[in-house]
Amino acid sequence: MIRTYRDALNLALREEMQRDDRVFLMGEEVAVYQGAYKVSKGLLQEFGEMRVVDTPITELGFAGVGVGAAMVGLRPVIEFMTWNFALLALDQVVNAAAKMLYMSGGQYNVPIVFRGPNGAALQLAAQHSQSWESWLAHIPGLKVVTPATPADAKGLLKSAIRDDNPVIVLEGEMLYNTKGEVPDGDVLVPLGVADRKRAGDHCSLITYGKMVLVALQAAEQLAQEGIEIDVIDLRTVRPMDVESIAASVRRTNRAVVVEEGWEIAGIGAQIVDFIQRECFDDLDAPVVRVHQVDTPMPYAKNLERAAKPDVAKTIAAVKRVMYVEA
């Protein structure tokens, strides 16, 4: 049935908590307040305060509580009100969760999900408008998931909860109200498998998360000009489904990579590196990246709009690799 992205996440949590009593949700405002973005609505009433746990404002602390609980067999879902606040918890995510299996010689895996909204919303300014996926995807031991649609949100979160590794789920504040068909029942979306969201032969648009919506809008407009776009939604940026990227680029011979974050050391850089190594002879044009302008996010509406990647910038990038006059 048609559901919002928010409800799809809520359903994934509810189903997994019903299925496995080791799964619990912990974070700021997840219980009594029902979630800062209402993702956890109704869960406290259904599962009680031991399994839906409000915390003090203490990101480092409760992230570490989750890691400790996971080491001894529970399956925590740790909600960060936003990933901007999670910087305080990165020691736990990076030094504890991601490395425990390795430095213990395989003795202690950490089955934990860290989730929450990532990237910019509207006019939240510099400290609340950041995309952290390249930071997180840099770390061996983590998986990083970036659902774009309600169906993927549900299916990927369910897979993330069942995965025996630490999994980062990057949601989007601007996505929570978006709607789409969500299959009923226990339908999983596997981690590490991309999805071709639109088929076309002229140019590949490789993206993930919220930028999938931008890419699809750009593709729609370009179709009116006779340019058919292959939209590859990575869905997981680590591990990355590079085979799907290569297959698309080999079909279209051109690629644009769209990401919400900054250019330097971004996910797009990794994708372009892969394409130049594996698809060098298939390319008819250099790959072009679309990303946030290299500044902190400004508050003013016009400046914010200018800073973000958008449909117009994406279309311009496609025309550039197509050698079409803009």
């Binding site: 409760f62 570490g64 989750g66 609980a69 504890a96 003795q107 998986k143 025996d164």
Partner: protein, 311 residues
């Protein structure tokens, strides 16, 4: 304690020979704290600690062979040669690791205790850290939640007076650091960390409180590190005087225990000598075992990054 002492003397020797690399932090002088505290636990309780972890692993029952092999970076090491001195783990002994970021593991202990309460078990978690860790946010955040949620955890400050080279009174606004427990509505205790029986007694009371009433405790064990912070640090260094060190060495925890036992007639000089010979043989065996253990296979490099399973 004697085994731990002799073991770490061999560690220092191995480090000088290049058989042990990286950072290596010795526990010499502090053995009574770890030994007494761990002696108060059951086998199904949990221990989590800092990077100064060799002696505590041994106190918890991890075989000296597996500890030495880990220090040598060998395949038979307790962490298969992938953790090293600072990251000894043994699932078999509920020994949840040596952790290398000061204070970073304190929230993990709170999480272990949360899991115990979640499941309605009567286990406890014992968490060691140094006095310097009480000044960082992880300590405060972790203890606040344990106090708030009433979790079965014992936080044991090993106050060895120096965070690397910075004395307690140069780092903490209050010197009586067990007092910090008041901020978390938590019982507190101060104990002579050089007296293994006193430590066992005080930790035992906290364990009982955690096990039966799910009340966390903050304990400060006053101890002293006889060696440098790590192998790259001089024994006395620029931050403490030789006279101060010598004064503290007079209260060597092994001597304190031996005197007590001799006064009670529980051991004589011959008994001590026999014990010493016995532990020296164990250490020699551990060294030989570690030396003969193969290096980890090159495939191990990319193993254990992630697991392939779901559940």
């Amino acid at each position: 304690m004697l085994l731990q002492r002799r073991f770490e003397e061999r560690c220092a020797e191995a480090y000088a020979l290049g058989k042990i690399g990286g950072f290596c932090h010795l526990y010499i002088g502090q053995e009574a704290t770890g030994t007494g505290a761990i002696a108060a636990l059951r086998d199904d309780d949990y221990v989590i600690t800092t990077y100064r972890d060799h002696a505590q692993a041994i106190a918890r029952g991890v075989p000296p062979r597996a500890v030495m092999a880990e220090l040598f970076g060998r395949a038979d090491g307790v962490s298969r040669g992938k953790g090293g001195s600072m990251h000894l783990f043994s699932r078999e002994h509920n020994f949840l690791g040596g952790h290398g970021i000061v204070g970073g593991h304190i929230p993990l202990a709170t999480g272990v205790a949360f899991a115990i309460k979640y499941r309605g078990r009567d286990q406890v978690c014992l968490c060691f850290f140094g006095e310097a860790a009480v000044n960082n946010g992880a300590f405060h955040e972790a203890l606040n939640m344990a106090g708030l949620w009433k979790l079965p955890v014992i936080y044991l400050i090993e106050n060895n007076r120096y965070g690397m080279g910075t004395a307690l009174e140069r780092a903490s606004a209050i010197n009586d650091i067990a007092e910090r427990a008041r901020a978390y509505d938590m019982p507190r205790a101060v104990v002579d960390g050089q007296d293994v029986l006193a430590v066992r007694q005080v930790v035992g009371e906290a364990v009982e409180r955690a096990r039966t009433e799910q009340i966390p405790t903050l304990i400060e064990a006053r101890t002293y590190r006889f060696m440098g912070h790590s192998m790259s640090d001089a024994v006395s260094g620029t931050y403490r005087s030789k006279a101060e060190l010598e004064e503290h060495v007079k209260r060597d925890p092994i001597t304190v225990l031996r005197s007590m036992m001799q006064e009670r007639g529980e051991i004589d000089d011959a008994g001590v000598a026999a014990l010493d010979a016995e532990v020296r043989a164990v250490c020699e065996d551990a060294w030989n075992f570690a030396d003969a253990s193969p290096e980890p296979p090159i495939e191990a490099l990319t193993e254990n990054v992630v697991v392939d399973t779901t559940s």
